[in-house]
Symmetry: C2
Subunit: 156 residues, 2 copies
DNA sequence: TATACTAAGACTAGAATAGTCTCATATCCA
DNA sequence: TGGATATGAGACTATTCTAGTCTTAGTATA
């Protein structure tokens, strides 16, 4: 369909949790998982991926856990999502070199590429610190930002 | 992940095709499928769904086929996508009444709802006639449009 | 009436996702 | 030093979703 994976969802929850507890000790995967009623092993996997992409730092050992690697204002929703699910591409055709088998004939490729860019733009505009604000704030969505930044696709 | 289904993709292709041939006779599912190298039965299914949602009209009998039900400028990408895949919801939490099992605790629901709205906004801005324009046009993407229209979620 | 088409929906196969389990490694503290 | 508690990594399973097929029925035209 057109849906965020649950893992990406969990990733956002975890990062937001860490953002709200960053003054304190590191949070373990167990701790976070319990708080939101999510499987602990699954949450651990998600956090591992985030650590891999340097969004969080892991601290081994007892009383270890995870902490944010950057300021919450420096982490976008796109960072988290693409760390977990890979690059955000609304169709398989829109990759740089990527070609569906009907590249020649496919007539919607280019328009969709542009739609994809707009979506990346939205996702990269939303930061974790914005997500932690109360909803009555305008918060979102600098939709008026320049459409072509082109710097997002890079992850993976 | 975060991907358009192939069926939705095919739907866009079909609608665009019909937009470009609307002066002429009705196009059969077979005809369109062949042109783009897609399974004919699958294309038929896709067109049926589009007909169901009154985006195209079906003409039975020999020399029948499909024709657009509206002007290409009146049909948005969102119309086509949600006709085929159902409403566009980036998480299962963001439905009107919809609640994940952790509604109380889930902290990302509201921010994601707002992201979802922005994406709907982008998709509803792109019309089939825009998709038929040549890429060197500015075409896309009235990103500066007001972020909160809220009128989209209704389809299905 | 025969033919060429759509309508509808059950069905199957395969891929993607969610989630589990196990073992290894690092750190802290008694 | 050794046990407890963390993460790291990757194989594994189960379930759900998607793509695609097939079959039967209905409808318009010639």
């Amino acid at each position: 369909m057109f849906k965020l994976s649950k893992k990406a969802d969990y990733g956002l929850i975890a990062v937001k949790h860490l953002a709200m507890h960053r003054q304190q000790h590191a949070c373990s995967a167990n701790e976070i998982a319990e708080e939101y009623g999510i499987s602990a092993t699954l949450m651990a996997k998600v956090l591992q991926k985030l650590a891999h992409h340097s969004l969080v730092v892991a601290k081994h050992g007892s009383s270890g856990g995870y902490q944010l690697a950057k300021e919450p204002g420096q982490i976008s929703a796109l960072d988290v999502i693409s760390a977990i699910d890979g690059p955000v591409l609304i169709t398989s055709c829109v990759t740089n070199h990527g070609n569906c088998d009907a590249t020649e004939r496919c007539s919607v490729k280019e328009p969709l590429r542009r739609v994809n860019e707009s979506i990346l733009n939205v996702l990269s505009t939303v930061t974790i610190s914005q997500m932690s604000e109360e909803p009555h704030e305008p918060a979102l969505v600098a939709l008026s930002a320049p459409a072509r930044s082109g710097s997002h696709m890079s992850s993976t």
